[in-house]
């Protein structure tokens, strides 16, 4: 049987799209790079993992329950979220990680010829989903490492449907205060959807960070994204959600994939929400280790960009993709940032002290030892 005529079957925007290639499993990588351990500091995972309450739920999960469909609309979790934020359960939509809800929103509001607006150096999935869905992503440069609201508004045209703001921004850690977000929302006059992605909001310690859930009453065009992957340590179970006005969420619900969130994820997320001690412990670790990293990197004369969130960016005097390979050979995995349009920067997740020391040691080694080849 010959291969189908892919040239005629596949839309041009799919042909042009560059698929994301996830990294290989740890054992494969360790074998290839010849290291006996691997500190994964590339995905901003919580080094504590899930809170104890969620661990208990996971431990008690009955294998027989795997044979049953989960709640198709995460009923109990939405009830709990509504209770926590004093909103209606129908104002929430749960997805298989926040990445899935990004796709729900874009599918719900965009049609051929429409565009979305976001920053050029931010979480790439908004741009990706728009691109492989056939919509244009208009990108505005960051200003002082932060989203530039004026530039975003300057890009708006009749076909603009959604503006995505990552708050705090991954990877720079900058954030918009409540005042700034309010001003931006006011300027949009409710004519377009404004998505505020708060994947890292639980890490923020700044007192002026917006209470976006309460802004939903005032701005019905606002959609807020949250995730259980970062602070709540449930990245492996893939669960995130969005919140918005009932009318807007009712529209987005039409594009949702039902039953995409498994039962274990729903139960674990439900349990994790009540564990406030976990948040405090994690914040403390991030605070202490970020301080350690910042001081060590400063002593090495390196420029850093660090705001809110469980990560820090470092500018290197070498190619970031070379640094990736060299750090991997010493058992440390970071995120190279050329793909975020930050050439020669790396992003390092904050983790336990042993991992931070391993990273600093490896970095000192690769920067201190002259490479065995001439570079430019």
């Amino acid at each position: 049987m010959p291969l189908p005529d892919l040239a005629s079957l596949v839309p041009a925007h799919i042909r042009k799209f560059e698929p994301y290639i996830p990294s290989n499993p740890d054992r494969v990588l360790m074998n290839l790079y010849g290291c006996d351990h691997l500190w994964r500091l590339n995905n901003n995972e919580n080094p504590f993992g899930p809170p104890p309450s969620a661990r208990e739920v996971i431990r008690r999960f009955e294998p027989a329950e795997a044979g049953l469909y989960p709640s198709g609309d995460s009923y109990y979790l939405r009830q709990k979220l509504a209770e926590k934020y004093s909103l209606h359960p129908d104002q929430f939509l749960v997805g298989n990680g926040a990445n899935e809800v990004i796709a729900f929103v874009i599918k719900a509001f965009c049609r051929e010829g429409d565009n979305i607006i976001t920053a050029d150096k931010t979480f790439a999935v908004y741009e990706w989903v728009a691109a492989f869905s056939g919509f244009r992503a208009r990108l505005t440069p960051l200003k002082d490492f932060g989203f530039d609201g004026e530039a975003m508004l300057g890009q708006v045209d009749e076909r603009t449907k959604i503006l995505f703001v990552c708050n705090p921004n991954n990877p720079t850690g900058t954030y918009w205060s409540e005042e700034k977000l309010r001003r931006f929302l006011t300027r949009t006059e409710g004519r377009r959807i404004v998505v505020v992605d708060e994947a890292y909001c639980e890490f923020v310690e700044g007192p002026d960070f917006p209470d976006s859930m309460s802004l939903l009453k005032e701005f019905p065009n606002l959609v807020v994204f949250r995730t259980f992957s970062k602070m709540y340590g449930l990245a492996g179970l893939r669960i995130g959600y969005l919140a918005g006005s009932r009318e807007v969420v009712d529209i987005i619900r039409r594009t949702r994939v039902v039953y995409s969130v498994n039962r274990l994820a729903q139960d674990a997320a439900l349990a994790a929400m009540g564990d406030h001690g976990h948040i405090e412990r994690t914040r403390e670790l991030v605070r202490v280790e970020k301080g350690y990293l910042t001081a060590e990197l400063a002593s090495m004369g390196l420029t850093t960009q660090s705001g809110e969130g469980c990560f820090i960016m470092v500018k290197l005097p070498m190619s970031d993709t070379l640094a990736y390979r060299r750090l991997m050979s010493r058992g440390v995995m970071i995120r190279s940032m050329t793909g975020f349009r930050f050439p020669n920067w790396i992003r390092v997740s904050i983790a336990q002290h042993e991992a931070m020391e391993a990273f600093i040691g490896a970095l000192r080694y690769i920067l201190g030892e002259r490479p065995g080849h001439e570079g430019r």
Partner: protein, 431 residues
């Protein structure tokens, strides 16, 4: 701005009855695409050789001829129609055969054809592609236009006039070893940018003065080739070279490309961005050899790879992988005296402008040694000074040619990470 793509197609047969029809179609198409009569005539002469060559080996088969208006060139493809049910589907009855003049004139036709065009390459189905570039006026007298040092500048794609000025400045400020020969023809560069062959960023000041720039092109899906950065009277402390390289990297960061190679690095190439991939020898116009350095950087995180290698190549690969910090699992092939098809078939890409030719194995066969030897002999006789062989370490049938390549005078020079199905090794003919 890329211009609309134009092409014409002719469905015919590999029969000399259709020779004149096919040649007229090609020549008239070239004229319709704006090619001058002399260039169109040379394209026709090359096409005559190709048609005759194919008609010899694939007599009577259906043939599609496609001509393409590439803005600065006209391309012609002779496409055969492979039968998917007869393995190997498009293996010629025999390889190109001996290439001694008078010994096999049909095979010599390919070499002769290459004299009249700028590039010639074999297609996977055994067909042939030709590229003839249009003639453009040369830049004329090159005079440097001094530019004040710019502490503040803007990096963006230029308009056509600024682009032509930039190209002239490059030719005036830098020696010919620092830029491709296309830069001697500013109008051609404008057309190449319009066609999407080149992309360019220039740094301009408040008065729109062009103070520097960088260019690049896509070579295959996975590799970007860059030239520069070029700076005109700009001091290093203002960071223009870094800004230009950053601009390039940001433009290509989210493309399919896996790495970027700077094939015309200038002294202004900033430190800390590129790694030295290696070097190849080039024959200068005065006949002397010079080492040309290749700098590269990956755009994506290297996921590691398993590659195949013949035992004779393992030490070279181990040395290069260690030097480049590439995580590779080398699997060594073991020759077991397996039966091979009778005839080997190599693809050829010629570039008359660069006087270079690149060979690749399409199908292995028992006569690989003779065929390769004849290719090299003919290419040398035709004056090709740089002869390369590309080996994809994903395919054992290619890897197993290693001893033959060594015996024929080839030496491994460069490893292009992820350059093919796995890493690609470039061998250079050393004589």
């Amino acid at each position: 701005m890329e211009r609309a793509h134009r092409e014409t197609r002719l469905a015919t047969h590999l029969d000399m009855t259709y020779f004149s029809l096919t040649m007229s179609f090609i020549e008239e198409s070239a004229a319709a695409f704006g090619m001058e009569a002399q260039d169109a005539g040379r394209l026709r002469l090359a096409s005559e050789e190709i048609f005759t060559y194919l008609a010899e080996y694939r007599k009577g088969e259906a043939l599609s001829v496609e001509t393409e208006d590439g803005c600065y060139y006209v391309g012609v493809k002779f496409l055969l129609h492979a039968d998917p049910d007869s393995p190997p589907p498009h293996l010629p009855e025999r390889g190109p055969g001996p290439l001694e003049p008078g010994d096999d004139l049909a095979s010599m036709g390919l070499i002769i054809a290459s004299r009249f065009v700028d590039r010639l390459h074999m297609l996977e189905d055994g067909g042939v592609g030709l590229v003839k570039e249009k003639t453009y006026p040369e830049a004329g007298t090159l005079v440097r236009t001094p530019v004040p040092a710019l502490a503040r500048f803007h990096v963006a794609a230029p308009e056509n006039e600024a682009l032509k000025h930039f190209v002239r400045q490059v030719a005036a400020y830098y020696g010919p070893q620092f830029f491709p020969v296309d830069f001697c023809f500013p109008g051609k560069v404008v057309d190449m940018v319009a066609q999407g062959q080149y992309r360019v960023l220039v740094a301009t000041g408040g008065g729109a003065e062009v103070a520097g720039g960088i260019m690049w092109r896509t070579e295959g899906a996975r590799l970007i080739e860059a030239f520069g950065p070029y700076l005109f009277d700009q001091p290093p402390q203002y960071g223009m070279s870094e800004a230009l390289v950053d601009g390039l990297l940001m433009e290509i960061a989210k493309t399919e490309a896996f790495c970027v190679t700077d094939i015309y690095p200038t002294p202004e190439l900033p430190h800390g961005y590129f790694e030295l991939l290696g070097s190849i020898d080039r024959i200068k116009p005065d006949g002397l050899r010079e080492a040309r350095l290749f700098y590269y950087r990956q755009l994506k995180e290297d996921p590691g790879l398993s590659v195949w290698a013949h035992p004779d190549l393992v030490s070279f690969l181990e040395q290069e992988y260690e030097r480049l910090f590439l995580a590779r699992h080398i699997r060594v092939t073991t020759g077991g005296g397996e039966a091979r098809p009778a005839h080997a078939f190599f693809s050829l890409r010629f570039d008359r402008v660069l006087s270079s030719a690149i060979l690749r194995l399409l199908w292995d066969g028992a006569d690989a040694r003779e065929v390769l030897e004849n290719h090299v002999k003919s290419l040398r006789a035709e004056g090709f000074s740089d002869i390369f062989f590309e080996m994809d370490l994903a395919h054992t049938r290619e890897v197993d040619l290693t001893p033959l390549l060594f015996r024929q005078g080839f030496a491994p020079r460069l490893v292009f990470p992820h350059g093919g199905g796995a890493d690609m090794v470039a061998f250079q003919y050393q004589g």
